[in-house]
């Protein structure tokens, strides 16, 4: 299948003025308050300058004035679409600093919740990506399914988006009695919808034309820019912290790392980044099923930890595989009950910095698709 792209035209022969176009900060396809200063030559993007910071809420400064437990709600608000994963990374960083071991049951519930949240995040990512490329119907199907996952979260923690559910040393409270059945039903539903989405969106001719060979990110550039998560794996790098540096109990589950192979275009194009997310949902379903089967029914959900959390003097950089990439927390403790410094290494922040590199030379309409394929959340970019 060969298609002639407009990009193949030699634009140097066409006389046109350069134009500076302002996209955002309030534009539906920028996924939040992101402002892009785009330099255009005709309709071809020659440079993009992202301006961020509209959602800066001083997370790091506030954390320095809070107890270790009180930081957790703020961590929720970083990547507000996958709060469970954020909490897991922060809580595990503090636990590692203090050398706390949490009960078996807690580990299983944490993994199940994180994987459910990963599915919910990827559903949003695929849905809005489809929306950016002009497909509206998959958006409705995926948001309906995401709602079922949010119901589970709501039943367990009381919150739909911001949970404050994982605490240092355990969980806020135990899960409800019918938790296991609910989760297994969700897994069934997710698989069914994903099949539909593959027919409806992923292998759709129009969608492939819009996304294949667009925004190609080579593997070495991705590594040099510090990309992580589906953006890195879409470029064909088999790197997943759950597998390469197993934390929590991820080493007990058998799952694969999907990577982009350039099935319909070039390795590392927008379609590859999207298919990685689709296939990761399936892997998350596998992990959830295994975890549900192994999860102990009885047991405490709080480890015996002191009421006031005072980690010993020291520091730690802990990273976990978030749906969007590598979320790292660099925590320095001076032995008091408040952290001396908390730095959040947000995956969206680092992934967004590659946007100018991969959108040069493509059409302006492609820029929106490329931005959608990176899957950013501005709450995390600006912190």
């Amino acid at each position: 299948m060969t298609t002639t792209r407009f990009i193949d035209i030699d634009f140097s022969k066409i006389e046109s003025d350069r134009m500076r176009l302002n996209v955002g900060p309030q534009h539906p396809s920028t996924h939040g308050v992101l402002r892009l200063e785009v330099e255009l030559d005709g309709e071809v993007v020659t440079n993009v300058i992202p301006h961020i910071g509209y959602l800066h809420r001083c997370f790091e400064k506030i954390s320095e004035n809070m107890n270790y437990q009180q930081v957790i709600p703020y961590v929720d608000r970083m990547d507000y679409i996958s709060s469970m994963n954020n909490e897991l990374a922060y809580v595990m960083a503090v636990e590692k600093l203090m050398d706390i071991k949490v009960p078996e049951k807690v580990e299983y519930i944490r993994v199940i919740m994180s994987e459910l949240n990963r599915i919910a995040n990827h559903q949003i990512a695929v849905a809005t990506f489809g929306l950016d490329a002009g497909a509206f119907t998959p958006f409705l199907y995926l948001f309906r399914d995401r709602e079922y996952i949010l119901w589970i979260f709501e039943k367990a923690s009381g919150g739909r988006l911001l949970f404050n559910y994982f605490w240092v040393g355990g969980l806020a409270n135990d899960v409800y009695p019918t938790f296991k059945e609910d989760v297994l039903n969700i897994v069934k539903q997710v698989r069914k919808t994903n099949k539909e989405i593959e027919d409806l969106l992923i292998y759709n001719k129009i969608f492939i034309d819009r996304t294949a060979n667009v925004g190609v990110l080579p593997a070495d550039v991705a590594i040099n820019y510090g990309c992580s998560g589906p953006v890195l794996r879409g470029s064909g790098v088999q790197f997943d912290l759950r597998k390469n540096e197993p934390y929590s109990i991820y080493d007990r589950f058998d799952f694969e790392i999907p990577i982009g192979k350039g099935e319909v275009g070039t390795v590392g194009d927008c379609w590859d980044r999207n298919i990685v997310r689709m296939r990761e949902m399936e892997q998350s379903c596998r992990i959830i099923e295994l975890a549900i089967a192994q999860m102990p029914n009885e047991g405490d959900v709080q480890a015996a930890i002191p009421k006031k959390i005072r980690p010993p003097k020291g520091e730690i950089y802990f990273r976990a595989e978030n749906p969007k990439g590598e979320l790292g927390f660099y925590i320095i403790s001076d032995g008091k009950d408040k952290p001396y410094r908390v730095k959040g290494r947000a995956p969206s922040f680092v992934n967004l910095s590659v946007l100018p590199e991969i959108s040069r030379g493509y059409l302006f309409a492609d820029l929106i698709v490329i931005l959608g394929s990176i899957d950013i959340v501005l709450g995390e970019v600006d912190r």
Binding site: G53, V237, K313, Y317, V350
Partner: protein
Amino acid sequence: MTIEEIYSVLKEKFGDSIGELVTNQPVDPYINVLPDKLFEICLELRDNPELDFDYLMCLSGVDFPETLQVVYHLYSMKKKHKIVLKVTVPKDNPKVPSVEKIWRSADWHEREAYDLFGIIFEGHHNLVRILLPYDWEGHPLRKDYKEPETYHGMRVPY
């Protein structure tokens, strides 16, 4: 490679620019580095095939009572080892060579450290504020920071 082996490779090549190796922390041992040869050290870390640190995980500024510090967390995708570098600079002259040309991920991280701590990264191609407005005054993550009374006529503290 273990961190001791990496340390001895660097020590052999750069001598006095490499400070001591600190391993008495509860977690994460680190290497102290002097700022003057930081760029060459980082280039060696990336380009030496034995070390091969191709991935900058995190770059953070830290404010200590007397000094400012930049912390580099490095990782090697192929060799699967990691190290932590620390550069300490005085508060009245906080200048650190930029490593943006070695790892492009340092670009925004360095701008963030400049924005929030006022650390000057020499050789950075576009060292401007990133999270705060471009005309903001002061560096908020410093411990002695006092927020301004007003910003463009709006009251800041509430």
